[in-house]
């Protein structure tokens, strides 16, 4: 809760910097503030012992509303790191709307607050509020490049889809409350385990799940994803693909694992949705001609992989979700760091624009290559171990789903290598790109992250218990 308050104050401060003549304060303020909040969360996360989900007393969870347990601390830390890295890119990323830079930062921080509310929520009302606080600034950010009609279109699509989803979510919450007489996670858990579960509760749970699948982008509710990701300014897309996705997956995992995680009847449809998501994401990504749209489909596919952990709820499954999302986040931010540089100077994101990047910009090419290899799951990078943990834990539940996931990982190598081949084996067609100091720092940090998570996965896993 302290972290949440600090983050809100930081966002308001960022808004007020907009009043000042000089904006030089803005970036240091945001970076230092985020680092401070991260320190708060880390310090808190180290104190929590043992299990991820705490059954606190009434006082420490604000009357069963919000529980900042280890699960929440880990995901909040991950989202803060992601936002920190994205903020460093923002000097170049927000260039399209120079005059509103403080507002853009503030909206991103508000949205992050919503993410933290989501991962810590133990009550359906808080979950709903968290989703809205996360989404509403994201709708605005998606349309923040007002001069670009694609950005406007993306914002409108995202907003309409999101508003519709909110309706479904609320209807589901109302039915769940009508069936069980409780909206807190505690009460819902007791209800779903002990008494005869009413059909009203099940219908409600179904609608809540559909709404959450919309937010994560699980097939067949993924249609908004690629269009929105493509039209949105790249810096905001990187935020949506990492922070928004992480928050939605974490919140779904908390509710799913605890309310219906023990019930095999729910799994059947979800297992099929996971398989469908992987195939649609990976197969469609192979036919894309733009790097950004390819990343959008690949992010859909990755959400499909993460679903595997949902079917065998255990401590290891929770660990594997955390590890997978950490590896995915680091690699995705690295991809977007290079993409932002390419887009700004080449004015498009076609694979041809990456031609010969290895000769002209070795650091960017090297980082992007490793990030893509990590996303594809090649050892010894972070993505390999993430996939390994996820798949080996999931084997006990649905072996055929793991086989599907492995086939899909093989498919994904094809489209990830298109960019790699363009960078290393094609001759440069244009002059070298120039990357700013901060962009280079982000590239180096993500590079370090990919290797650290890959070569020393114990660091994160020990922290997770």
């Amino acid at each position: 809760m302290k972290a949440l308050i600090a983050l809100t104050i930081l966002a308001v401060l960022a808004l007020f910097v907009g009043l000042l003549k000089s904006r030089k304060l803005l970036l240091p303020l945001v970076l230092l503030g985020l680092a401070g909040v991260l320190a708060l969360v880390m310090q808190y996360g180290c104190q929590c012992e043992g299990t991820f989900f705490h059954q606190y007393l009434d006082e420490s969870t604000y009357r069963n509303m919000f529980s900042f347990d280890k699960f929440a601390a880990v995901f909040a830390g991950m989202m803060l790191v992601a936002t920190l890295l994205i903020s460093m890119l923002a000097t170049d990323g927000f260039i399209y709307n120079e005059s509103h830079r403080p507002e853009l930062f503030a909206l991103m921080l508000f949205s992050l607050c919503g993410g933290i509310v989501m991962v810590g929520s133990t009550h359906l009302v808080m979950l709903f509020l968290g989703i809205e606080i996360l989404s509403i600034p994201a709708y605005v950010l998606a349309g923040s490049n007002q001069r670009d009609s694609q950005s406007n279109e993306a914002a409108l699509k995202y907003f309409l889809m999101g508003a519709f989803t909110t309706g479904i979510l609320l209807f589901g919450i109302a039915l769940m409350y009508g069936g069980s007489g409780s909206m807190s996670l505690d009460g819902l858990m007791t209800y779903s385990r002990h008494s005869e579960v009413s059909g009203m509760f099940k219908a409600g749970m179904l609608m809540v799940l559909i709404a959450m699948c919309f937010k994560i982008g699980i097939a067949p509710f993924h249609f908004w994803g690629p269009d929105v990701y493509e039209g949105t300014p790249s810096i905001i897309t990187s935020y949506m693909a990492t922070v928004v996705k992480t928050a939605a997956i974490a919140a779904t995992f908390r509710f799913f694992a605890q309310i219906i995680g023990h019930d095999a009847a729910w799994m059947i449809s979800l297992v099929w949705m996971a398989a469908l998501t992987m195939f649609i994401g990976n197969l469609t990504a192979t036919v894309q001609s733009g790097f950004k749209r390819m990343l959008a489909y690949s992010s859909i596919a990755h959400a499909g992989y993460v679903l595997i952990a949902f079917f065998t709820p255990s401590l290891q499954a929770t660990q594997s979700v955390v590890f997978y999302l950490a590896a995915y986040t680091v690699a995705t931010i690295a991809c977007f760091a290079v993409l932002i540089g390419v887009q700004q100077q080449r004015k498009n994101d076609l694979f041809e624009s990456f031609n010969g990047l290895a000769k002209t910009n070795p650091l960017a090419a090297f980082t992007l290559t490793l990030a893509l290899l990590s996303l594809a799951g090649i050892p010894p990078l972070a993505g390999f171990f993430a996939k390994y943990y996820l798949f080996s834990n999931g084997w006990a539940g649905y072996p055929w789903l793991i086989l599907v996931a492995i086939i899909n990982s093989a498919i994904s190598i094809y489209y990830y290598f298109r960019t790699i081949i363009a960078m290393w084996f094609h001759e440069p067609t244009d002059e070298p790109l120039s990357f700013s100091m901060l962009q280079k720092v982000v590239l180096l940090l993500t590079l370090a992250g990919l290797f650290t998570l890959g070569l020393m996965p114990g660091l994160l896993l020990d922290f997770l218990g």
């Binding site: 809100t8 308001v12 808004l15 604000y62 009357r63 509303m65 919000f66 709307n97 120079e98 005059s99 509103h100 507002e103 853009l104 503030a106 909206l107 508000f110 949205s111 607050c113 919503g114 509310v117 009550h123 009302v125 808080m126 509020l129 809205e132 606080i133 509403i136 600034p137 709708y139 605005v140 349309g143 923040s144 007002q146 001069r147 009508g178 069936g179 069980s180 007489g181 005869e196 009413s198 059909g199 009203m200 509760f201 099940k202 219908a203 179904l206």
Partner: protein
Amino acid sequence: MIEILFYVLSFVSIVTGLMVVFAKSPIHSVLSLIVTFFAIAGQYILLNAQFLAIVHIIVYAGAIMVLFLFVLMLLNLNKEAEPNKDIAMKLAGVISASLLMVTLTGALHGSVVPEATLAVNTSNGLVKNLGQVLFKDFVVPFEISSLLFLAAMAGAVLLGKKHPSQITDSEIQKI
């Protein structure tokens, strides 16, 4: 008596709800929506939620509907502006909506709804009791929702404000 009222209000809200969807002119849609809101406010009163009913009428039937009407009149919608929906889209919509209806009817049919265990308290919906719940049990969500409004306001200002470079662009074009 209450049962008859319930059925009358439900009938009115369903019929006007359908009219919102099927009305040809958008103005008629909005006007039927107002009637729907009033019928729903009646249901709230039957549930002893008097404060909620009043707020519902003031906010929805009052403020939001006037806003709707304004927007409709400013947009000046007519037949030509209506997008052409092709038959496949309509079919997909009908099929998915019917599937949802089948699922919901199946789930709700014969579902066991727990009896209200608390004694019915007729002063439940009064402002005093609502305030007690809002500022005791739900104080955290109540405070956090202020964050939502702040974020939404900042976003609205950002979208509404004119882009300075937009102005220069058009000025350059004039020159």
